[in-house]
């Protein structure tokens, strides 16, 4: 089947739109914001092939598109990643309109952002290791540019450089892993590798380790996480939302795809992921506990949420437990919603209190005091987001954590059950830093920053409200996202040949 199918358009549209956005911005006045509208249009149009691809997928199963030696295949896992990327991406572009209105270089911003979205979708469709690496590299490059967007700010520059170097080390390690696999099996196709791989191959074991670390840099596994708090807090807030909600998750999908090729190798992949999960949760929470900068705090909280996803995935790989895979992917979507909401709401406050006045100092918890009086929607959005992240019902985060926990107990293994209790304990610990944010915004006495703050543009509230409604809706009715997470979980297990 070599016609361009719906899903290839879903990848191509954003990628082709990127240069158009750049040129349209370049050829018009910056203040007119043409680039931003073209970007929004491109993403809105991309939803059409998305819808077609989704219905094709549910009707006919995964389809493959081959170009030369490269084959792309959209399965349900890829669809989930596409939905996450496109969904959050569209809202971020909408949000960035007012947020970035005063910045120069907007055409680059929007072009890179839209390309980034397309790349994430493409990454989800890779069928061979090298193709996966290429998408991964493209994702990294587009992200460097976005992280260091405020290149006149020393801290943003620092964050961008660290991110670039650490990612580049990671991708070199992945490359080495690919070489080992190629040398051992003579193929790069994920399925063929899985068929060809011997059960006890030290070389493939080493390749697995290299993949885990190489992709793990991007996923922010502890101790490779050190770039994340810098990058996520220094990027423009819309980008912070994308980084936390989509990019690290894309890294996780890449890691899973790579490991799926090594599924037959006799190794404790499940235990490995669970171990990283536990460490990530604890380190992320403890690091966040005493942060005073809101965005840095949220960045560390992403570490712990990756931990929950890893726990669920580890359980899935360890015991072939479908609920683990589904719960973990459900948490991935929910984390995108909640962390996206948190960063956009906090970013809105950052904009109103600091950035809009040309002040690039970070948003501190002290600044938040009394924010609810002047910025009620942003304050409520931030509260809903962090309480959801803390796992309180009836918000989305509770439901997906619960699904992961159920999977853990279904194994009936004492140590996994202990790990689940540890994870739940970490949720309690996380309230120690989430709750003070809520207390701060609802204070009576406004901070100096709030008193002097600018009004928040109404358009920035739109994505905040939409995401807040989604976080509550999914929390009340978890079945809302099952059309995505259910088949995606099955696709994940299928990729591992279970």
């Amino acid at each position: 089947m070599n016609d361009l199918t719906a899903f290839t358009w879903m990848i191509l549209l954003p990628l082709l739109a990127a240069p158009v956005i750049y040129l349209s911005g370049r050829l018009t006045k910056e203040q007119a914001g043409v680039a931003r509208w073209v970007a929004l249009l491109a993403l809105v149009l991309t939803w059409i092939p998305f819808a077609l691809a989704a219905s094709d997928l549910s009707a006919d199963g995964p389809q493959t598109y081959t170009l030369g030696q490269v084959a792309l295949r959209l399965d349900d896992l890829g669809l989930l990643l596409a939905a996450l990327s496109l969904g959050l991406g569209t809202l971020v572009v909408l949000y960035s309109g007012p947020y970035m209105a005063a910045e120069s270089g907007q055409e680059k911003y929007y072009a890179t952002l839209v390309a980034n979205i397309g790349v994430v979708i493409g990454l989800g469709c890779a069928t061979d290791l090298f193709n996966l690496w290429v998408w991964f590299e493209a994702l990294a490059v587009s992200t460097y540019l976005l992280v260091a967007f405020y290149h006149e700010q020393p801290t943003s520059l620092e964050a961008g450089i660290k991110y670039l170097v650490q990612s580049a080390v990671g991708s070199a390690l992945v490359l080495l892993g690919i070489a080992l696999v190629l040398g051992q099996t003579g193929t790069l196709n994920l399925v063929e590798i899985r068929e060809a791989a011997g059960a006890d191959s030290a070389i493939l074991l080493a390749a697995g380790a290299l993949f885990t670390i190489g992709f793990g840099v991007k996923v922010a596994l502890v101790p490779m996480h050190t770039w994340l708090p810098d990058a996520h807090s220094q990027a423009p807030s819309g980008i912070s939302a994308m980084l936390s909600g989509v990019v690290i998750e894309a890294g996780l999908i890449a890691l899973l795809r790579a490991l799926s090729a090594l599924a037959r190798v006799e190794a404790s992949w499940g235990e490995l992921l669970m171990a990283f999960g536990a460490i990530n949760m604890l380190v992320g929470n403890l690091m966040a506990l005493r942060q005073t900068q809101v965005k840095r705090l949220l960045a560390y909280s992403s570490l712990s949420h990756i931990g929950y996803m890893l726990l669920g995935l580890g359980i899935a790989l360890y015991s072939k437990e479908l609920a683990g895979a589904q719960g973990s992917l459900f948490h991935m979507l929910n984390h995108g919603l909640m962390k996206g909401l948190a960063f956009l709401a906090a970013g809105g406050l950052l904009y109103a209190l600091h950035t809009s006045m040309g002040d690039h100092s970070p948003l501190t918890i002290g600044d938040l005091a009394g924010a609810a009086q002047r910025y009620p929607l942003a304050a409520l959005g931030l509260s809903i987001a962090v309480l959801g992240l803390g796992g309180l019902p009836p918000l989305a985060g509770f439901m997906s954590k619960w699904q992961i926990f159920v999977a853990g107990f279904e194994t009936r293994e004492g140590w996994i059950e202990a790990l689940v209790v540890f994870a739940a304990l970490n949720s309690v610990l996380s309230l120690g830093y989430y709750a003070p944010l809520v207390n701060a915004v609802y204070r009576q006495k406004p901070s100096e920053a709030v008193q002097k703050g600018q009004p928040m543009p109404a358009l920035m509230n739109v994505p905040v409200v939409l995401l807040a409604v989604a976080v509550v809706a999914v929390g009340v009715w978890p079945a809302l996202l099952r059309w995505l997470t259910g088949p995606a979980g099955e696709a994940l297990l299928a990729a591992f040949g279970f």
């Binding site: 030696q69 090298f130 290429v134 590299e137 493209a138 990294a140 490059v141 460097y144 540019l145 260091a148 290149h151 006149e152 020393p154 801290t155 520059l157 620092e158 964050a159 961008g160 450089i161 660290k162 670039l164 170097v165 580049a168 080390v169 991708s171 070199a172 390690l173 490359l175 080495l176 690919i178 070489a179 080992l180 190629l182 040398g183 051992q184 099996t185 003579g186 790069l188 708090p229 810098d230 807090s233 220094q234 942060q291």
Partner: protein, 101 residues
């Protein structure tokens, strides 16, 4: 030494040199150079792996792609380095270690 052994030593030497450089240097340009060395190790391994598994063409075409991707990364890295020099007046990593805790 056979060819494959020489290649193996080469790969390890490049990787070692790259990582060692990244661990000790405080100069941003040297960091980019160390990264280049590191990736070259991976590149060599890829070509050798293609050779070893009888897929010489595949290995070489992959290598070409890696070179392109790697160059892009190097360009972005150097651009950031130039910006750092312009903004901070130095290429010392000490000036780029303010985000802590």
């Amino acid at each position: 030494m056979t060819t494959s052994e020489i290649v193996l030593v080469g790969v390890l030497a490049l990787l070692g040199a790259g990582l060692y450089g990244l661990l000790i240097t405080r100069n941003l340009i040297k960091v980019v150079i160390a990264l280049q060395i590191l990736v070259k190790g991976g590149l060599l391994a890829l070509v050798a792996a293609g050779e070893a598994s009888g897929q010489t063409n595949l290995g070489q075409s992959l290598a070409m792609t890696v070179i392109v991707a790697d160059t892009v990364v190097a360009v972005v890295g150097l651009a950031l380095a130039i910006q750092a020099r312009r903004l901070l007046g130095t290429l010392d990593l000490k000036a780029l270690s303010n985000l802590r805790g």
